[in-house]
Amino acid sequence: MTEVVSIVPALFVLALAGVLTARLPAGRVLIYGGSLVLCAGLLLAGFDALTSPVQHLRLPLGLPWIGTNLRLDALSGFFLIILGLGGGGASLFALGYGRHEHHPERVLPFFPAFLAAMAIVLVADDAFTFLFGWELMSLTSWALVMAHHGEAGNARAGFVYLIMATFSGLALLLAFGMLAGPLGGYAFDSMRAAHPGMGTAAVILVVALIGAGSKAGLVPLHVWLPLAHPAAPSHVSALMSGVMTKIAVYGFIRIVFDLLGPNQWWAGTVVLALGGITAVLGVLHALMERDIKRLLAYSTVENIGIVFIGLGLALAFRATGFQAGAALALTAALFHALNHTVFKSLLFFGAGAVLNATGARDMETMGGLIHRMPRTSFAFLAGCVAIAGLPPLNGFASEWLTLQAILVHPEMSEWGLKLMIPVDGAALALAAALAAACFVRAFGIVFLGRPRSEAAAQARETDSWSATAMLGFAALCLLAGIFPGVAIDAIAPVARGLTGARMPEQLTDAWMTIAPVAASRSSYNGLLVFGFVTASILLTVAVVHRLSRGVRRGPAWDCGFPDPTTASQYSGASFAQPLRRVFATVVFQAGETVTMPPPGDNRPASIVRRIRDPIWDTLYLPLGRGVGWVADRANKMQFLTIRRYLGFVFGALVVLLMALTIWQ
């Protein structure tokens, strides 16, 4: 507790220092180095909080009669770990990456403040402090998104982002208002004590889902992610995608699981439905994307969907009184959140490195970078495997747990759950498979093949700070993948605190096998799988190399027609084409028009692809148009004659007098 309380002000001091030293080269080292150290502190505090008892603290800030109440329990601790990990990694990466920043004075002051705001959210124990941190988090990250305000589209990105962020804040404000009651019991303890009625609880749950969901990126409230994340500098994108969305998840868990108390089973179905839709839609968007950072942002949407599937299961199980299952589902969700922080940060780092090397975000201009940037490509590959949910890396471990949670309890009496749980299982499987395709495409187009542009051909490997950050996170992906038991046991206290149960102890097994319920039912041993695969690779290599002769380099075979022009290789768009035909024609009304000039005509042939975002078209455009329409009508009220305005006064007077006579 004391660590956090001392670290947050230190971060704000760093922010001030950033204002002063922004233009000096030393400023970068100071700010990011400082953030790195402080994030390490947060990390330690988080680990400490997982095991130690709940700690309270009350500071005489904010509203005097409430004060600033801070609380550090296992849940906060776990997310502090996420924050410390992601923030520390981003700082480490930025130590080198920040060198290429053209406007350091627009980044350095806000970066530590952003971290501090997120820390505040995590330790807040009253509505005011919570929302203070929440909105501050939005404001500072908005400033970071606007750092490159010169680039086209960033202004719009910042606009959409801050609007959605404020929307989420106001929604949560309503939820807290409902929880606090007319007397204003803003302290979380009093909210826990108060048990709202069923109707009230339902309203709170929906509002909280909207509020937290729009910050986490739940469909249909996800529209800001693909705009805002690419706009920000890459290490900030990593922070927003990897950590901030998790803070939103934390908000949801804190309100719904902790403050709201027991819930109805339908809550589970709602969350499950949203989670499933989000997972599939997100990855489909990612598949169609050609801007590498937008692709990553959309894949964040997908992973948030997976996390919410876990949360929905936990809600459903908790409502039906099956606490072991709830613990399993919640553990899976939290574990996946942690994993996503690791590999998504890693991937955004890689994207940043590529962006620096080639000066482009458009994948179609890249290619062959694996030769120019070996370290980056290796780390990025690890990230791709992890996020595609493939063993032996960590993405698979958490998705496997989620699937186990889906399978753990088929005997449901509620029809909604009977239908929703298996459908979500299918959605999860589909999302995982599509994610694999998506990241084969991402890595293959960016790093493999032949360079598609001069810049890509001349790309240079990134600096050692960034490389350290990336390789470190890659190592984390592996470790979390082969020792999932450690993470699960670490999460156990959180699960017990929120569901009243925990998963069975995992680390007792000699081989570190994880078994959610019992080894006979289902088990997975990342360590052994990894060991077997590595061993058999080595074995085969040894054997085969003894048997066979060496390797000779030669021109590519390509069925005898090797084509020197790099344009002949598969592009991102052509890679996605089969999947676009299969899925997007339905979901995004995707279509293509081919113009093929007749033989002898030497005009170039062309193909035009159209993709439409159904959510944007059906929800946001009409909304915007409606507001504009009303605004135009209202605008006619400007510059009327004075007589008209007097007419208004007169009318108001008469109306009020009439009302009075009627009332009397």
């Binding site: 009327l640 004075i642 006064v649």
Partner: protein, 225 residues
């Protein structure tokens, strides 16, 4: 003397005068020539002066005579005269302008009177009836004055409407027994200032626009501001 008994002579006279004021207001609504309108304004102020004087008499409050005097001199003579000159200077004396038919305006006026009476009805009677009736009538004068400002286009007739509104307030103020002098003075004072400022403005306005029609001022612009 203290409270007068209701239904005494004093009551009837006060009531008659107040009613007369309302009547004159209606005449204003009816008038659509500026010059004639100014005459009616003078009459309006004159009736007001009478009723104020009567109030001074029955309330035995000498300071009200001053208020009556102010009303007589300023509102019944100076102001109409000044406005009249202005009208002739600008050659508006031939102008005929109304918005909406006179008949409709009159109907609206009647409705307003009904409304004000209706509003005042539930007021408990232990405020003495003179005041109560006067307030009801004053309210209707105020409303009609406002109605006038709303229905007339011409700046001068708007000024007239505003002044009749002030007269209504005067009536109310004097009807309120024992209301301290402060208020009457301030009322007259504010009216005076108001008039001066209006005059200043009209002067400036005329210097910039060839008509003082207010609607010429707020012409609709191109482009949003």
């Amino acid at each position: 003397m203290g409270l007068v008994a209701p239904h005494g002579l004093s009551f009837d006279v006060a009531h008659m005068l107040a009613g007369g004021l309302v009547l004159v207001s209606f005449m204003m609504l009816y008038q659509d020539r500026l010059t004639a309108l100014l005459h009616v304004l003078a009459l309006h102020a004159f009736v007001l002066a009478l009723s104020v004087a009567w109030q001074a008499y029955i309330q035995d409050a000498p300071h009200l005579y001053i208020a009556a005097g102010i009303a007589l001199v300023f509102k019944a003579m100076l102001v109409p005269y000044a406005l009249r000159r202005m009208v002739f200077q600008m050659g508006l004396h031939r102008e005929i302008e109304t918005v909406g038919g006179v008949g409709i305006t009159m109907l609206a006026g009647i409705a307003l009177v009904a409304l004000s009476l209706e509003v005042m009805l539930p007021v408990t009677a232990h405020t003495d009836p003179v005041a109560r009736e006067d307030i009801a009538l004053a309210l209707s004068v105020v409303l009609i004055g406002l109605l006038m400002m709303v229905t007339r286009r011409n700046a001068i007739s708007q000024v007239v409407g505003f002044m009749s509104l002030e007269n209504g307030i005067n009536l109310a103020a004097t009807g309120a027994r024992g209301m301290p002098l402060v208020v009457e003075i301030s009322v007259a004072f504010s009216v005076l200032i108001a008039f001066i400022v209006i005059g200043v403005f009209l002067f400036r306005i005329r210097e910039r626009f060839d008509t003082i029609d207010v609607s010429a001022l707020d012409r609709s612009r191109g482009g949003q501001r």
